[in-house]
Symmetry: C2
Subunit: 361 residues, 2 copies
């Protein structure tokens, strides 16, 4: 049977109270907080039904109720009110983003900072590059008399560099030629023939060979980086703010898990694009993350680069606020140029439903 309207209202009130105070919610205190007066006894009855359905739990018999994970799921799917984001706020996010990017030149880190500041939660930021033919140009810059070279690759909207230290020197003029050759090969899409075609002229020990090889390896590496995602986690210390984390051991496990970038990447990579994704505690399938939720979304950086920005916070985080802020962020950043009419529907067309369908608790 479906939940009654009143049950939904009660559940929503419980969840929001718990989000607010982190204290188990009792029937009496809840009763007074309602506009239309319902007695605590009625609430108790409803509560016990909600408990039977696995939506509430009691830490112990006389401590009030606490929402279960399934309840949070229901909450974000059906109960939660979406916040509107004012145009002014979008503008503000945009400006903040531009400010920080001016000093950082790294959209991933900037995004993490901005979101972390906006929400007061720990944020995770991932930059995903689609692989394939991305590198447009390559420059070689001599550093110390031909023993080291800076290799600079330019992609769509992005620059990467790497230092190559050689064991045999290469004349800068030689390197310039080489650079031209490589760029030509890139333009004509026949990079793979370059190395073999040059090899018979020069020894495999020569600095030149090493330089070409280094450059080509770096290009390959950058291009094949279809899932070479960069990961940045900002402000982990904020996780310590949460009351539920009195258990320092579990905290430690959580921080440990999060400090491994590949874990973070994996978690957010299974999200639906262009949606606000919510993963609540156990849905993440990772013991150390059992007590936190992850809310994240993607934003377009350019045609081949996708940013993922998210929040990690205890399961009782303020989902509504988190979703609103992330949606606003994605809007503000993706639409950096055509920020206009599209604003009006912020939050309305976002699809929060996902995670495991139906709370099977």
């Amino acid at each position: 049977m479906e939940l009654s309207e009143r049950q939904r209202r009660i559940l929503k009130a419980i969840i929001e109270s718990y989000i607010d105070t982190a204290e188990p919610v009792g029937s009496k205190s809840l009763a007074v907080s309602f506009d239309s007066p319902i007695s605590s006894a009625t609430i108790r009855n409803e509560m016990s039904e909600l408990e039977e359905r696995g939506l509430l739990e009691k830490p112990h018999v006389s401590a009030g109720r606490v929402p279960s994970y399934a309840a949070y799921r229901l909450y974000v799917n059906e109960l939660m009110e979406r916040h509107r984001t004012a145009y002014s706020e979008l503008e503000q996010i945009r400006r903040r983003m531009q400010d920080i990017m001016r000093e950082m030149d790294d959209i991933m880190v900037s995004a993490a900072r901005v979101v972390s500041e906006m929400t007061n939660y720990t944020s995770v930021s991932v930059l995903n590059r689609r692989g394939g033919g991305r590198v447009k140009k390559c420059e070689l810059i001599a550093m110390d008399e031909g023993w080291s070279y800076a290799v600079v690759l330019v992609g769509e909207r992005e620059v990467r560099h790497k230092l190559l230290h050689l064991t045999a020197p290469v004349e800068p003029s030689m390197a310039a030629m080489l650079s031209t050759a490589v760029n030509l090969a890139i333009a004509e899409g026949r990079l793979e023939y370059l190395l073999p075609s040059m090899l018979h002229g020069i020894g495999a020990q020569s600095g030149m060979y090493m330089l070409i090889k280094g450059v080509i390896d770096f290009i390959r590496q950058t291009e094949n980086a279809s899932d070479v995602a960069e990961v940045y986690v900002s402000d982990t210390a904020r996780l310590l703010d949460n009351r539920e984390y009195q258990d320092i051991q579990r905290m430690r496990e959580l921080l440990d898990y999060m400090s491994d970038r590949s874990n973070v990447r994996d978690m957010v990579s299974r999200g639906a694009p262009e949606r606000i994704n919510i993963r609540i505690g156990p849905e993440l399938d990772e013991p150390s993350m059992r007590d936190v939720s992850l809310v994240f979304t993607t934003y377009a950086v350019d045609r081949d680069t996708k940013g993922i920005i998210g929040i990690v916070a205890p399961t009782r985080m303020d989902y509504a606020a988190a979703c609103a802020k992330l949606a606003a962020f994605a809007k503000a950043v993706s639409g950096m140029n055509e920020l206009g009419e599209k604003i009006k529907d912020t939050g309305e067309d976002d699809e929060y439903r996902n995670g495991k369908p139906g709370g099977e608790a």
Copy 2:
């Protein structure tokens, strides 16, 4: 009066036991751990004298003694045995460093990782660039039809890049000219005349003007970066391992403080170069750092770049091990090329004495 030899031995034993177990040390348990049998009563007498001198403290009357900060100071200054570092270990550090640098291309982060792995403590890593005439070369790379440029600066052993987004396009050929002009100006050391001399030909609104200005600003910024230090803190989560940090509030304060890079930079910038510096708890003059010590040293990256690498751990950290590892690290990295005879004196000529002279507790 000076401490007697026996007192010193007892103090040393107490400190080392406390470093080991984090438990207050009692007279009885200490008595049995000595080779030459001293009775617990004797030790008690000595202990109470050490306490009068401010070297020991009791958490409460029946809990054994705990070293005071002054005792740690004395310990690192006079009592501690310096570990020798085997040649093989240096070799190992060097290899590890090379491995990590291969994948990271960032000496600062690599150093932090290596040290943190070696010691199992949280590590801090700072890269300090001396300012003044550093930029050797500059390249401009067009990205999308002249609207964006990648500016690449090459220094002694280092490459930095930045994206410039213009509001008016600049022809790539024009940019090439510009780049030549800038490089010429750099070579002749008259960069400051460049902008004024070009200004009257072009409008201040033009893309070209913005591009030159952007480039020159970036060069200035990079060059004036005499104290633009990059800071990296690795593995903060390890700080949570410590028994003394049951107090989550103080932990939080500590992490907060450390997450501000400028704080970290300030802490390590006041160190004597080429020495192992030790700052014990209160010597750091920062309330949230009261219960941790900082051990750090410098290593040369190149003529104008100085790396600082350090460890942050509870005051009862293993100073001897920390010093040895850091000394080894600095040796291994600084001497990357001429690793040989100089190895033998590892640890012997390092000067650990510093911090506030004399423990005035």
